[in-house]
Symmetry: C2
Amino acid sequence: MKYNPLTAEHLKNLQAMVAADRISTGASNLDLHSQDQSQHTAVRPEVVIWPMDRSEVSGIVRYANQNLIPVTGWGSGSSLEGNPIPVQKGIVLDFSQMNRIVAIREEDFQADVEPGVIYQDLNAKLRHKGLFFAPDPGARATLGGIIANNSSGTTTVRYGATKEHILRLTVVLASGEIIEMGTRASKTSSGYDLIHLFVGSEGTLGIVVAATVHLVGLPVEFSAAIVNFPDIQAAGKTVFKIMRSGFDPAALEILDPECVKLINKEKGFNLDISPTLFMEFHGPSKEQLAANMEIVLEVCKEEEGKLFQTGIGRAERNRLFEARHQLGEMIPRNHTGCKTMVVDVAVPISAYPEMIAFARAEADQTGIPAYIFSHSGDGNLHVVFAGKKGDKKEWATLDQVNEHMVYKALSLDGTATGEHGIGLGKRKYMQAEHGRSLEWMKKVKDLFDPNHILNPGKMFP
Amino acid sequence: MKYNPLTAEHLKNLQAMVAADRISTGASNLDLHSQDQSQHTAVRPEVVIWPMDRSEVSGIVRYANQNLIPVTGWGSGSSLEGNPIPVQKGIVLDFSQMNRIVAIREEDFQADVEPGVIYQDLNAKLRHKGLFFAPDPGARATLGGIIANNSSGTTTVRYGATKEHILRLTVVLASGEIIEMGTRASKTSSGYDLIHLFVGSEGTLGIVVAATVHLVGLPVEFSAAIVNFPDIQAAGKTVFKIMRSGFDPAALEILDPECVKLINKEKGFNLDISPTLFMEFHGPSKEQLAANMEIVLEVCKEEEGKLFQTGIGRAERNRLFEARHQLGEMIPRNHTGCKTMVVDVAVPISAYPEMIAFARAEADQTGIPAYIFSHSGDGNLHVVFAGKKGDKKEWATLDQVNEHMVYKALSLDGTATGEHGIGLGKRKYMQAEHGRSLEWMKKVKDLFDPNHILNPGKMFP
């Protein structure tokens, strides 16, 4: 596709659509919208606009479509695969001004939100109502970004990914047309499921301007445990047994020895340097969670698991899981002069030990510091590499290692991305993963966005 | 669309594609494939074919597309909205010969199945592995039908509808092209979610020839309780409280007084003739379920709920829930000379008492026997009417009542169908429910099936 560069006349016309303080071509604003949290190269948009409502979005997108100007949605820039980098320049729509929680329908387990709402802010508002939005991607992500990416996180094993929590969507299509999809009923068999087409489409089919999200009752009580295992096979087998047990784990995170070293150092733990399982459970009372934990620990023992600590109750669980949740900050802190690259693949859970072993062998070959951790109940594995900033050779090596891991995951019937999306980094694997159905994804793209103005350069090879 | 009637030459060509005993134009076979379990008018296909594999399906569909002959998939004929009635005649593909369970991947919580597998047969095979396929539509439905319909049932409140349990699909498109979608990883953020487009599309976008379904660990223990409430508001409020409690109910079924009368009569129960809640819970031990039940019953008491009986353990739960599960048979048995019509709508759960009250008032006006029961945790309500066979006036009244209930549900932000699908009966509400997004459903239909040969006359008004 050929796009038009933004002319002075385009800019004048766009300026007429929004208040003067909500459109900018200033260098710092362009820079702030040129890159996400990934290692991908920054590209500045030509203009940043902060829309206030759906009709502004509609007007801007319609104009962009008529003039072949790219439009890329922007949440908080926390993506990890270059998903919102405006590689074809044009317009970035920053949704931080459309961040109202329009309604909380406590008795329906629902909230109506604008795309710029930060999910932690939503959950803070919901807390005293005893509810929460379950997907937990970790970063300070917006609902719009979470929906565009079908985000998930540590508790997805219990509560599901974003796509399981979206009841209604209002989307601006490439033509500027606004369509509403879905129902406030919690289930439906009416018509084609267009919502799931937009969830995870990374802003390439339409731009979400409103959503009704499904909420979950806050757990009454929490428990957690940290258990060392002699090897990854034993840890993997334990995960399988716990998944089948009926205890409905809220998180099953396996950390590799390198992660454990870091945690011992930073948190003063004295964990064995071996694969370590962080478990979390939610339940109606401390007594029940404690009773269940005894059985879970028996299961761990069957596989030679060695208990480090259990924590019953919210404070205790927080204390134990803090170590897991701070891992993302510990790694860069311990590798100054480095930038991180995060591998994100998922495999069937039986293939999980093989995938981990492969990842470790690949990482060791590079000599580059690498930390493997995983949402193991979902078979979703991350490797965080700390590559030297500006070291082209090292980063070329990392690209290669990433590629090896993706092809290994695909060979195990897995996916190139469990939760970070395709963005820029995973486009080259789309053909290998999807085969002929990729052609149908392209046809769907052509149907909804014939001029390919929406987040161009993403998703497709 | 204009279709071609099946000529002798078409038949000869189709006969060349399959073994002689797997194609029939015999009257009894045409009759058997002319009607589902609904009240909709029977229409005979012109030929029934029992394909054995995907390449046969592909060849037949390609030929049909080239010759503008309608093709309708057939599972077990248990639909309730005329979904598989071949209203434009042509070919019915009966999948009862494609009923192999190809693989059970216990350690991945997955099974690979052909579309003709009956879900109870799958679950019988899975039982000794400690796993089950969770969607439970009730009838002896096939996996293909369940997928086409996005079926659900009593336990959907805990385990989700069919769309939450499909990992991979192989589909024959209208052109005869075979595409595979999805991954065996339990989560993915890779590409557009085509699977959800096909799930619930009622065979109008493509024909499922294989699926990888997600399985769940069998509950270790079960509990149940039956509680009478003074009115529907109290019962509804209790449902909300239990949903938020963290006890994760496996079924929350409210039965109206008419259902209760029938159950008292047939099962020898002595329930008060008032709205009655059937609850089911799954958990790791009888002790825990008993402890939880005490708290649940406290919640019921707060709303003036009066306990009838509790049952802890599988046998006790089965005994209590038998009454609920046999309701579908009790109604016709108690109304000889009648045929049933089932209303199926869903609303946000706060709107549920209002919806019930409306349904009862509408039903009472008709004087026709009506039984209201509901998957109340999902806000999904059914009314079963027993209308006199052949009484045109009565059936015209029932059509009207159905329509009133659908518009009432839509006015409450609900859906025209919670789980039975659009089929023939709900087409006329598609515009009211979906508005402008219906146009996009039509465009998706045109993209995948430009000649509209797949299950024509369904889904769209």
